[in-house]
């Protein structure tokens, strides 16, 4: 439902496994292999970087807030799991997704203004499109998404947890930027928003915020440079990633130990005729003892390390899917690496090629 992620249409219809997603995309390409061969495209993540940049440009002109930009990007992702990109004018899809997202996020923009700005932003690829084309594309978008327009974002989880984990303003900003960046990956189609948010928090804790370059933040603009710099090349990048991996592994081990302890405690009850109270207290003793055995780290003197440890402890106590967080972390790291190879001009040209050749701009 609207506020309950587990019953939401997002979870029921728009969350895929990697295999499902790959198969869906393959099916789309197989519908018309000649088309795909004729117009090669850069890798999806590079396309997403391009879309992200374009949507930010349009959003900036209209004064649209981050939440709507994020929702628009999710719409684009969902739409392109249903429709082959080469059959569409991506600029029209971007414009329409933003127009629709603004209505859904309760910050509506007039359709005439949105299409006017789009025309002036992309004069050569969008010139033939007026408001009625945006209106028509809106039907297409809603129809392909089965009117499932409510998107759960990780931002809310982040804000809800900033106190719990004692995040500084810089750490919250950095986590916010990481969330902004995850819209350029497949993560919004693969993992629940709270997994993304917690991963972003962990990354913000282990990747030292670079005070000068952090873009974004709850109210600021959103560039990926801050986190990308910190992730790939920035100070302490490699060490930070290692730290994140350690923290997750540690949390996972502790969680396993906890489960094992509960199991042992419960199972032991059969052999030992004791009161339930005794059984449970024994169980918890075993749990804490094992936790120590499995290498509870030495008292951290570095406050940053202490925060990471507290976060890992919290994770171990929770029933969060740590495996999913590991996957999320890897996906983000690999995205920051592939960001380095992104070529803006090349991407733009390849998109323009099929737009022009197929007359999609008219």
């Amino acid at each position: 439902m609207a506020a309950n992620y587990w019953e939401s249409t997002q979870r029921r219809f728009w969350q895929f496994t990697k295999d499902e997603l790959a198969a869906t995309r393959q099916r789309l390409e197989d519908e018309d292999p000649t088309l795909v061969q004729m117009f090669p495209l850069p890798q999806l993540r590079h396309l997403n970087i391009y879309f992200n940049q374009q949507i930010n440009r349009l959003g900036k002109r209209l004064g649209v807030r981050q939440q709507a930009l994020a929702t628009a990007q999710v719409y684009i992702k969902r739409f392109y799991t249903r429709v082959e990109i080469r059959r569409t004018n991506p600029y029209l899809v971007i414009t329409t997704a933003l127009y629709l997202a603004c209505k859904m996020e309760e910050c509506p923009q007039h359709i005439r203004l949105v299409s006017q700005e789009a025309r002036s932003l992309w004069p050569s690829d969008f010139h033939g499109h007026d408001t009625s084309r945006v209106g028509e594309c809106e039907f297409s978008l809603i129809s392909e998404m089965n009117s499932q327009l409510i998107v759960h974002q990780p931002y809310r989880t982040l804000l809800a947890f900033q106190d719990e984990f004692g995040l500084t303003h810089e750490e919250t900003s950095l986590a916010w930027t990481v969330i902004n960046d995850h819209y350029m990956t497949d993560l919004p189609l693969l993992h629940p928003p709270h997994i993304v948010a917690l991963t972003a928090i962990l990354m913000a804790l282990v990747l030292r915020p670079v005070s000068n370059t952090t873009g974004g933040g709850p109210t600021g603009s959103n560039t990926s440079t801050g986190a990308a710099g910190a992730g790939a090349g920035g100070g302490g990048g490699a060490g930070g990633v290692a730290l994140a991996a350690t923290a997750l592994a540690q949390a996972q081990l502790q969680a396993q130990a906890r489960v094992a302890a509960v199991f042992a405690g419960g199972g032991g009850g059969g052999n030992t005729p004791v009161t339930p109270g005794f059984t449970s207290s024994q169980g918890s003793q075993v749990g804490s003892a094992q936790g120590e055995n499995l290498g509870e780290p030495k008292k951290a003197t570095d406050p940053r390390l202490a925060k990471v440890q507290r976060f890992a402890m919290w994770l171990a106590e929770s029933s969060i899917d740590i495996e999913a967080m590991v996957d999320c972390t890897q996906e983000l790291i690999s995205f920051y690496e592939c960001h380095e190879q992104y070529n803006d001009k090349h991407t733009r040209e390849q998109i323009s090629r099929f737009i022009k050749a197929r007359g999609l701009d008219k």
């Binding site: 506020a3 992620y5 429709v83 059959r87 899809v93 999609l360």
Partner: protein, 462 residues
Amino acid sequence: MSLTNPPSSATGPGSVSAVRSQALKRSVQAAFEDPADRGIGPMSYQSKVRVTDKYKVIGFISSGTYGRVYKALGRHGQVGEFAIKKFKPDKEGEQVTYTGISQSAVREMALCSELNHANVIRLIEIILEDKCIFMVFEYAEHDLLQIIHHHTQQPRHPIPPTTIKSIMFQLLNGCQYLHTNWVLHRDLKPANIMVTSAGEVKIGDLGLARLSYKPLQSLFSGDKVVVTIWYRAPELLLGSRHYTPAIDMWAVGCIFAELLSLRPIFKGEEAKMDSKKTVPFQRNQMQKIVDIMGLPTKERWPLLTSMHEYSQLGTLQPPMNYGHHQHGHGHGHHYQAQRQSSSSTGGSQLEKWYYTTINQHGTGNSQSPLASLGSEGYKLLAGLLEYDPEKRLTAAAALQHPFFSSGDPVTTNCFEGLKMEYPHRRVSQDDNDIRTGSLPGTKRSGLPDDSLVRPGKRVKEG
């Protein structure tokens, strides 16, 4: 949002197979289509489903500012009857073009796609075709406006107390579901509360509903006017910038009162927006509330003084003696209100109103049927019509109210035990063509979105 992993029942294979079967259906469908027609670009948008292929329209139900509602049957063996709400496209000159879907339609489409509760009207599907939006809902034979109207027909007779109790419980249950999911309905009124022939209450028309968590803009700045005036909460009338699910609960209180008395409890006249589009203070409506509830005080409603229109309160008349003010029901001698409790509620005449109302159908030696609702009925009503939105009963609290656990038990079918059957919804044959049906909006008058024109007779009565 829940942070724990889902219960195993929710992760079952159901969801995955749903996605798969959907994908399968799509691919089968795609096989019958020219692939070039799919998607957008130089090709125009084509719906994959045609509403008239799938449904047989059997009549016209009502029209509102949004468009028209039709009654329909499935052509492919779909079980049951359907109500299809058609949103009209905007017209530019004579040419119908795509002009962007209204925000209220977008909200209703998105929210109805997520909602799933026995007491909220169920969406079957949405078909986007020929620049129109068709929302297909389960059909409900009755609505509260109809039911209330039926009881005003001569001889005027009250709605049975068991029916009222069941309706209230189901209505509150639906509200609780909406509110725990952060959905504010914002337009609860008898015409929007559907009742199926099986006696199930269904909250309908979510055209004004929206999510209330962390809105990007304050709720006030979005839509300046919400809730049909008679059901509008005092904090809205006083220009509150921040409002909450409590506005729906005030409306539920008004509906409860209307089920008891068969007429709107606060039947004010709406002051129209002036040319500068500023929202005027709804003096007449606020006065109607004050007439029964007394003037609100900052002792009972601490944030009262921070209301935008607080200064206007001074210009209102304190309630007159209730006995003179009532439009001569002639049964006033039946009320059993205790003087002291009435004065302790700060000039509220509600208790008098309640006992007068529930006793008004009694005759010389037989008790009015509504008398069985007793003092708990008053307490529930007073809890819902509480001035201070923070003190007003929430849906969850109202469901726990002794009103439901004492006296007659709550029935799941609100018609249980009734010897009569309510008249069926009027379905006209004038306009059966859902595709070309003349667009409304030109010849309408009166309350927008009311599916039934309130008979003028009711105004004169009482």
